[in-house]
Symmetry: C2
Subunit: 160 residues, 2 copies
DNA sequence: TTCGTATTGATATGTTATAACATCCGGTCT
DNA sequence: AGACCGGATGTTATAACATATCAATACGAA
């Protein structure tokens, strides 16, 4: 669906339906329920290659009569994150669809500060020097957040 | 204030006064002003080896008559972050004193989910695989956030 | 002193996130 | 069918985090 690390995907509607199907299969396999709100929330995230705030998602949902109150969006987003279909971008307090759901992975993000696009790389930070430092200290890592902010290829070009 | 790697400092009052002196020198050298609110805010952060929310800081400041409104705390924290004396922990929406101010560095944090202590490591993530991936994609990294959540040595022990 | 800028004071508001509790819906056990 | 149970939703309220704006003041440079 995309280049080396996820900026640009050539065929977005294919990418979306593939992801949705994968999510559906995964839920079926694990006995999870991809309810209308959850499914639509995932579609909303997939429709953009960027991070959306919970209230942005809520606006979309509200426009379609799927719920008007914050918990609606947060519950759906929490479900998607727990199920591995989406990630929270801490630096933005926003959410983005996962580009390879199902797999247990430690994602790293490249976030464009100009166009808000988000690319998901898959480096394993806990394996590098940070992991060494943690082990040396006796610290047990459970979760890592790796987020790089900067300019994506398109926006670097524009700036020139 | 305990255990290895940046968790500990054996002598906290020395550590605090050292840091404060460094901050003062750095400000003097650069023509920045370490005003009472800013200085006190730094002291408050240094007094704990953990991250404090802006409103936690504000409570301390308010108790000492240094300001009661949110902007007071946010301005002081922004100043400290910009000057390199503190960092924002994105995963917690909270702030912590920098353990080696002045130096330009790309910090990485180990955050205990049990006791909220924070250790600052100094790995350079943009130099590793993430940096390679970014370069390959044409993405220009300007800032990185690396935060690992888990259990610190003390709390790993307690859990057992 | 005068000017310009950084800082502070103060009010209001915007944004993100969760607590708490009622209700509904789908499955299962008897 | 009826009783029950658990997950999902609906709804209200509020907690927690953050900034815009504008007036007043302090500070250093010219």
């Amino acid at each position: 669906m995309s280049g080396p690390i996820g900026f640009q995907c050539q065929n977005h509607s294919v990418c979306m339906s593939t992801m949705l199907a994968q999510a559906q299969d995964h839920c079926t396999a694990l006995g999870l329920r991809l309810t209308p709100v959850r499914r639509r929330t995932l579609e909303i995230l997939l429709a953009e290659h960027r991070a959306l705030g919970a209230y942005d998602v809520l606006k979309h949902l509200a426009a379609e009569g799927l719920g008007t109150q914050p918990p609606v969006a947060y519950r759906a987003l929490d479900f998607l994150v727990k199920a591995g279909f989406a990630h929270k971008i801490e630096a933005l307090n926003a959410y983005t669809a996962c580009v390879h759901p199902g797999q247990d992975h430690a994602p790293a993000f490249l976030i464009c500060r100009n166009c808000q696009s988000v690319a998901e790389a898959d480096t394993a930070p806990a394996k590098g020097r940070l992991g060494d430092a943690a082990r040396a200290a006796g610290f047990v890592i459970e979760r890592t957040v790796v987020e790089a902010t900067g300019l994506c290829p398109d926006c670097v070009g524009e700036a020139a």
